[in-house]
């Protein structure tokens, strides 16, 4: 009798399986393991943002190297560089 009851108990244990949110736990494990988990769209967005930052830095470096400094470019735009009256300030001066 004891044996049957014990065996019945182990059968119930074998069938016992509480519900669990495996995806939620995966996120927790990823965070705890020191990594941030991104989905496919998240990874794509991250790659796109990274590429945009790299492209901006490259463009800035290119302009800085082959042209005047950003400060000089700004001054040229506002006051003109002496060769044209296309800047807003100089256009105003010439219009007077």
């Amino acid at each position: 009798m004891d044996k049957i009851m014990y065996e019945d108990y182990t059968v119930r244990l074998k069938q016992y399986r509480p519900d669990v949110d495996f995806d939620g736990l995966y996120e927790r494990i990823s965070r705890k393991a020191g990594r941030v988990s991104f989905g496919p769209m998240g990874r794509f967005s991250l790659a796109l943002a990274g590429a945009a930052v790299v492209a901006s830095i490259a463009a800035f470096a290119f302009v800085s190297y082959f042209s005047a400094s950003p400060g000089e470019l700004a001054m040229d735009y506002v006051f003109g560089n002496g060769r044209s009256a296309s800047s807003p300030v100089m256009a105003y001066v010439f219009s007077e």
Binding site: I29, R35, S37
Partner: protein, 163 residues
Amino acid sequence: MRDSDFSKIYSDHREMVWKLVSRYVSGQHDREDLFQEVFVRVHKALPKFRGDSGIGSWIYRIAVNTSLNHLRKMKLRKGLSEALGMLALTGHQEDFPAEQDGSALLRPLEKLNPRQRMILILSDVEERKLSEIAEMLNMSVGTVKSSLHRAREIVRKEVEKNG
């Protein structure tokens, strides 16, 4: 290691680990904590995995050892709290009464010490061989056999008592 590697390992073995931890500890919160701890350990140890055994056996072994340590820590914490008369510090088990999450079933197992509980689960629920259990727990087969015999006696009495 790429994210996708770990993700695949997780998907392939999560059910096996969940079954083990959910029979070993009561309370959803504790189970989830233990489950999480197992996979964080797997993640950390994965670069050192040499492939001497199958990855499933390797993860299972980590799950068994992490569970044993988890329960020992919990028992220690509970004992300390009871000694201090501060039951509020005993952890999450009290937050999830056994009846609420179906783990009243596990009550007879709570009469066993962590090692006896693991041996009984591995042998009579997971149907692992005694030699395999002995190797996993770093014990002799004879010790496993006697612990199992004692554990069965205790649980049998509990089952009988509670109907």
